[in-house]
Each structure stands twice: as C-alpha cells, then as structure tokens.
Subunit: 179 residues, 2 copies
DNA sequence: GTTTTAAGTCAACAATGCTGACCCATTTCG
DNA sequence: CGAAATGGGTCAGCATTGTTGACTTAAAAC
C-alpha cells in the first residue's frame, strides 16, 4: 500500500526522477514551444465564441459551418465537406440543425439542379457576426500589440503549417474552391 | 416538390442569392482570414500526429497529456489540470490509460505525500518523441520557409491570442507553474 | 438508358468534453 | 488533538462531434 495510491497495480515506481529530457538541440526547444503556442492560442481563441454558442444550444461545429458558408455564399455541400474535411454525416447533423433553425438557407443550383447552394439567412449572418465579433477582439488586440510586421510573419508561418490544400483554398480569395 | 429536396419542411427559399456579406472594413477581412489560419493550421498540425496515435489506440487527449508531462517532469495532477483546463474526470480517463500502458509513471511527493508527481517512463518519452518528430517537420519547414523574423512575429501574435494564464504558463520556461 | 454524381439518411460506435456525487489519505489549522 | 481543507480517485450518466457502412433518390452525363 503505497500511501494514497491504493493497491491498484497502477503504480509504477518513478524512473529515478526527471528522465533527463534529452535536450537535443536549440531548435528542438523552439519546436516544442510552437506546440504550446498552437495549443493555447487555438483553445483560447475558440473558447471566446463558446458562450454565445451555448446560449443557442449550438456547438463549435455549427460555428465552423456558419463561418465557411458566410465566407463562401452559395457554397455546395460537397465543397463545404472538402473544406471542413469531415464526413457527410457529421456535417449533415450540424447543417440540418442550422437549416431547421433558420440560420442557413439552401437553394438548388441553376445549371445543375442537384446542387444545394448554401447561404446564410439574415438570422444566420447576424449570428455569425456575433460570434465573429467576439473573436475579432482577440485577434485585433493581438495584431495591434504585435504590430503589422509580426502579423505578416504570423500569416507566413501559419500558412506554412497547414496542408497545401488549405493553402490553396485560402488563396482562392475565400471564394468556394473546387475540391 | 422542389426536386431533390423532398418535402422536408427543411427547405428555405434562397434569400435572393448571396446576402451581400457586409464587407464592413478592410481589417474585417483580415480578421476573417485569421480565423481561417487558426482553423487550418491547428487542424493540419494536430493531424500529423494522429496516424501514430491510431496505431496505439490513443487519441489527441493522450498526446496532450504526454506532451505536458514531458515538458514538465514531476508535474502534479492538479497542475496538469490547470494547464489543460479540463476536468479531473476527463484527465483521469486519459491518464489512467497512459499509466496502465506504461507511458507515464507516478511517484508520491516528498514533502506532501498527497501529491502524485507525473513523469514519462522511457517508453512514454519514446512515444512522445515519435509524435513530436512528426509535428516538428511541419514546424521547422514552416519556420524555415518563413524566416526567423516571421517566426518572431508568429510568436508574438500567438501569445497575444491566448489567455493571460496561458501566456504566464509559457513564460514559466515550461517548468511546472503554480496554477 | 445506363452510369455517375450530389446529396440525404439510418444505425451504431468512439473519443473526449461535462456534471454531480462520493470516498480516501494527508496536511493544516484552531 | 480533532476538524476542516486539500489533492487525488472513482462511479454513473450525458452531450458533442467525429467515424464507418449501407442504401435511397434525383439529376446529369455519356
């Protein structure tokens, strides 16, 4: 019985204390820091919108859909799937909720009537605005404090981290890209 | 019936097509872009480690725990909770799995024997290394391409986006901070 | 007129958050 | 010393959001 640890087989004797953490080279520490940066910044950035979402019984997935539909009015379901990289079923849940509650409207395509062109309703645009405003504060504060040059660097690095596909999407001016 | 849309009440007539997306001011577009950057960079960065994790039947939550224990050898459970900002129960699931499978070791504190000091076992450190290596490529590529100045900017902006608490943690040299 | 394609749907499952309610061992404090 | 506070653990149940697999329907393409 190792004190409070009960006898749970779970106890493993400590490896002589701090396993000396290799500390390979300097840039290694930089890379570790980048992990932290991404984790914290993303977590806290997304959290900003959560309060508003909770009020409405929506989740982050809904926010993402609203965001990308707002940025790409008339986007098709399959393009949206390609951007989000989730399955049709996952999107369906979220999208149906948004349509049911009047945040998103869908119209059949003109040329190809199989397509469902997605747009935000006014209600949807208003919600997206609200969510955006919350997050915008964060960003603009951070941008302001860091300065325009830092912003340039930020963009460059972030672009470098993402997949080529995402980079391409972003280069498409935010208009619906072709998967 | 409106073609393929069946009769699902779900159909909402299109709002005259692209609700003109206000386009308030220039900096607004910048902020929107930042949302995209964060979403894509974070998604693709975390994805990098997923393959390795899947092999082992572990998830991202396990990775996070490994990461922060690795960076803060001897961290207590409550400090880890404070860093991750999740509940004890959520952490327990993940931590128990890691201990059971020999990735993490725990030792009672010397001064205060209620504490459980967490460290990576060699096996755990090796796994963390593996996961890290995958992600390191991304980062170092991005850093290299963007240049050292951009990296500075990246850090500044990311720090600005996160909560003060996270910033403080990071300033603690990555050594276990006091909640 | 057959085959693709865009979209929708049912069912079931897994990971990871959460809350609420307790228990135990240790430390602290009156 | 004895009570309260603290660090940690656990059971049970639930929500969100991701996954697979299998199948349908409507429209387009060939």
């Amino acid at each position: 019985m190792t004190g409070m640890l009960k006898d749970k087989t779970r106890f493993v004797p400590p490896p002589k204390l701090p396993p000396p953490t290799p500390v390979v080279d300097l840039s290694d520490a930089e890379m570790r820091m980048a992990q932290d940066l991404l984790f914290f910044a993303y977590r806290d950035f997304t959290n900003v919108a959560d309060q508003v979402l909770e009020e409405l019984g929506l989740g982050r997935a809904h926010h993402r859909a609203l965001h990308f539909i707002g940025r790409n009015p008339g986007i098709t379901v399959s393009s949206l799937l390609a951007v989000l990289r989730i399955t049709k079923q996952s999107l369906a849940r979220v999208l149906n909720a948004l349509v049911d509650e009047g945040f998103v409207a869908q119209a059949p395509g003109f040329e190809d009537r199989r397509l469902r062109l997605l747009t935000l309703t006014e209600k949807g645009a208003a919600l997206e605005r609200r969510l955006f405003d919350a997050q915008r504060n964060r960003i603009s504060q951070a941008y302001k404090r860091a300065g325009p040059q830092a912003v340039q660097g930020f963009r460059g690095v972030m672009r470098g981290i993402m997949d080529k596909g995402a980079r391409d999407y972003m280069d498409g001016t935010g208009a619906a890209e072709d998967a």
